[in-house]
């Protein structure tokens, strides 16, 4: 648990799916090592222990929406454990439930998304993606394996510069790529045929909550009449609604803005006087909310749905895994 927390803190582990899987696997270990203290019921004690772990993780880095949903799932499973089970049986049940969750909701869901999304890629396409999303990366590599001929435009932004890692992985596999930064998006959008974006979560009013800058990409694509496809597993959907990016967001390290890696000539903000520092504020947002009118279709494991169908899935289909 400590290891995972520290990985979050250091930023080694990023991306909704990766963080969620790592957290669930850490919970599995914790459950296996757990033993009920005397005079306490398994369910209540385990729930409070999980709560303690969650607080620790929040200290390291605020939870992502996918992690929040997974924790709710786990707590509901613990609550539904029949009281007749012995401790070891309960533990094995819980661990297998977690395994099934990871398998069905993430791994298999991704495979279904791949198949759906690959049908939307034709030969001669120019596909644009922003930042680094594991689902989009899988889609691009899968389509390349299928033999489709297309080009990829990777758009990146400071300070995270996640696109460079994605770029490296794509070029190694032999995809021809163009790399640019977010400001140049109006320049490249003339040639782009499809935009593929990942999401951290999708809210019930169809708003896509994703890495900061995604909204700008979707907006410019919409202005140039380029279809925007958001690829997101259904477990990330949330019943919350949000209209803008400010009400609920995560703040990153402000000093990351003033530092530009690899460019010594642009360090203008070193050596500020006190008077300058008191007037200057550095704001590093991590997420932003893309309005649903910029999204053409959302590719999920339930199929390809319009943004207006998200509340249907949240209310209607989510109950099924809670009742398993």
């Amino acid at each position: 648990m400590n290891r995972v927390g520290l990985q979050y803190l250091a930023g080694d582990l990023s991306g909704g799916n990766a963080r969620c899987i790592a957290m669930l696997q850490a919970f599995q270990e914790a459950i296996r090592d757990y033993s009920t203290p005397p005079e306490k019921t398994l369910t209540r004690d385990l729930t409070s222990k999980i709560g303690g772990f969650v607080s620790f993780l929040i200290e390291c880095r605020p939870l992502s929406m996918s992690m929040g949903n997974a924790i709710r799932f786990l707590k509901s499973r613990i609550a539904r454990l029949p009281l007749t089970l012995s401790e070891s049986e309960a533990k094995t049940t819980l661990c297998s439930d977690i395994d099934r969750f990871i398998n069905e909701k993430i791994v298999l869901a991704d495979k279904v998304i791949l198949r759906h999304a690959a049908t939307k890629i034709r030969d001669g396409d120019v596909l644009l993606t922003y930042g680094s999303s594991c689902v989009v990366e899988m889609i691009l590599l899968y389509a390349h394996e299928l033999g489709k001929q297309f080009r990829v435009v990777v758009v990146d932004s400071h300070p995270m510069l996640e696109g460079q890692k994605l770029l490296r992985r794509l070029v190694v596999k032999g995809l021809s790529c163009t790399y640019t930064q977010l400001n140049a998006i109006s320049y490249v959008m003339h040639k782009v045929t499809r935009v593929f974006l990942g999401a951290s979560s999708i809210f019930s009013n169809g708003t896509v909550y994703s890495t900061v800058g995604t909204a700008s990409v979707a907006m410019v694509a919409h202005a140039f009449r380029v279809p925007v496809l958001v690829c997101c597993e259904a477990y990330k959907f949330h019943e919350r609604v949000q209209l803008d990016s400010i009400c609920f967001n995560e703040l990153g390290d402000p000093d990351a803005i003033s530092k530009v890696p690899g460019r010594v000539d642009v360090n203008y903000l070193d050596n500020l006087t006190d008077k300058q520092k008191e007037n200057l504020e550095l704001l590093n947002l991590k997420y932003d909310a893309t309005p649903s009118d910029y999204i053409s279709v959302i590719v999920t494991d339930y199929g390809m749905i319009p943004p207006t169908s998200v509340p249907v899935i949240v209310r209607g289909y989510r109950k099924e895994y809670l009742l398993i």
């Binding site: 990146d156 932004s157 400071h158 300070p159 460079q164 770029l167 490296r168 070029v171 032999g174 995809l175 021809s176 790529c177 163009t178 790399y179 640019t180 930064q181 977010l182 400001n183 140049a184 998006i185 109006s186 320049y187 490249v188 003339h190 890495t211 900061v212 800058g213 909204a215 700008s216 907006m219 410019v220 202005a223 803008d244 990016s245 400010i246 967001n249 803005i257 003033s258 530009v260 690899g262 460019r263 642009v266 203008y268 903000l269 500020l272 008077k275 300058q276 520092k277 007037n279 200057l280 504020e281 550095l282 704001l283 590093n284 947002l285 932003d288 909310a289």
Partner: protein
């Protein structure tokens, strides 16, 4: 003459190597160079204006070819040509007015011979007067006859007169050069003081407790905001850093030094923050004849976000940035691609950028454009040194500053006659 040639070559070199930063500096140096060219031009007896125009065009063509993306150079060249034409015209009308009086006074001699040239001279004078000054209701009602042929030069009407005319001409040639150089000095003065004139209008637009957004760094914007601060308006500024040059950092530093509350945000956060912003104020690289703006890269994205959130998008531009050309395919033709090393470290990705791999073409392209085109429908207001204007009005300002004959500066090579 050799002096100016050396100056011209030196300036051409600086333009080709992109050593001059900023359109104001470029415009000023171009104007000063053209002033030297004009003062060194030898003036023939007849057609002085044409000689001046020819020499300015010759130098201007080379200057524009050295850096076609820096539109301020072409703007200043065309402004100077317009100045030459205007000064020539006003001198002609003054001379013609004087000539008219003298022609009428000795009416008895050679009435036939004199009347004709006098008439044509009067007609030319009337026509040139009408082009220089707006027609009054009086002249419109009087229905001036169709002698509205554009008076090319004054020499057509003057040959039939004699000594008086030649004396006039030599004094006029000196006067023309003198007037033109005076007007060019005024132009240089205008270019230097454009920031102050624009900054004076700041108080009308920035109210108390407003939030302003800007991207990158522009000296005009800096002066504008500081002028508002001087007048005791308190407001916040969000500065987007403007990758990959990160000039937003510079602007933020300047603003906090002058005591303004500034927040530095990333370019990716512009859409997120713009809902809390009252106004977007940016500078421009050039303003085209249709009201479109050639702006630092990233501003089209900001303009679209501002339109979505109904935030006014205000562009500050000195009049030397107003270009009489229409933008055709501006993303490609009026753009410059900078070095990819600003985006990617060559060392890390050198194997992908290599032409020697597999199919003989690099797998990785890196795109780093300098400018963005913002269409006129996204701009709410232009603030220039002459005041605030709608994008749809910009074509009218061009008629004030430029002549239609100067739009195409390239001399056509004689097409196989």
């Amino acid at each position: 003459m050799p002096d100016t040639q050396a100056l011209v070559n030196d300036f051409l070199n600086k333009l080709k190597k992109r050593k001059i930063e900023g359109s104001q500096a470029t415009a000023k140096q171009t104007a000063e160079l053209l002033r030297s060219v004009i003062s060194q031009t030898r003036m023939p007896y007849t057609n002085q204006a044409a000689a001046l125009i020819h020499s300015v065009k010759a130098v201007g063509e080379r200057l524009i070819a050295a850096n076609p993306v820096e539109l301020a150079v072409g703007n200043v060249v065309r402004r100077v040509l317009h100045i030459v034409r205007e000064e020539d015209l006003s001198l002609t009308t003054a001379a013609m007015a004087g000539l008219n009086l003298s022609a009428e006074s000795d009416d008895e001699d050679d009435t036939d011979r004199d009347n004709h040239p006098a008439l044509s001279a009067a007609a030319i004078a009337a026509a040139s007067r009408s082009t220089l000054r707006p027609p009054s209701l009086q002249t419109l009602l009087e229905d001036v006859p169709d002698s509205a042929a554009v008076p090319h030069t004054s020499s057509s009407g003057g040959d039939s007169e004699g000594k008086s005319k030649s004396a006039d001409k030599s004094s006029r040639s000196r006067k023309l050069k003198h007037d033109v150089i005076e007007a060019v000095n005024e132009l240089i003065q205008d270019i230097s003081t454009c920031h102050e004139l624009i900054a004076e209008q700041a108080v009308e637009h920035i109210h108390q407790n407003e939030v302003i957004l800007t991207l990158g760094s522009s000296r005009t914007v800096l002066e504008f905001l500081c002028a508002a601060k001087e007048k005791k308006r308190s407001f916040r500024v969000f500065v987007a850093e403007g990758a990959p040059r990160y000039q937003g950092h510079l602007l933020a530093k300047e603003l906090v030094t002058r005591g303004l509350q500034t927040t530095l945000i990333t370019d990716s956060a512009v859409f997120a923050m713009i809902s809390r912003v009252n106004m977007v104020i940016v500078g421009a690289h050039a303003v085209m004849a249709n009201g479109g703006v050639i702006a630092p890269v990233g501003l089209n994205m900001v303009a679209l976000a501002a339109q979505k959130h109904a935030v006014p998008f205000v562009v500050l531009a000195g009049s030397h940035k107003l270009c009489p050309l229409y933008p055709h395919h501006p993303e490609v033709l009026l753009n410059e691609l900078r070095s990819p090393s600003e985006l990617l470290d060559f060392g890390e990705f050198s194997d992908c950028l290599d032409f020697g791999s597999g199919i003989g073409a690099p797998l990785l392209h890196v795109v780093n454009p300098t400018f963005d085109y913002v269409p006129p429908k996204l701009v709410s207001l232009f603030i220039t040194d002459t005041g605030g204007h709608n994008p749809s009005y910009m074509y009218r300002l061009i008629a004030d500053y430029y002549s239609a004959d100067d739009l195409v500066l390239e001399r056509r090579t004689t097409s196989g006659n």
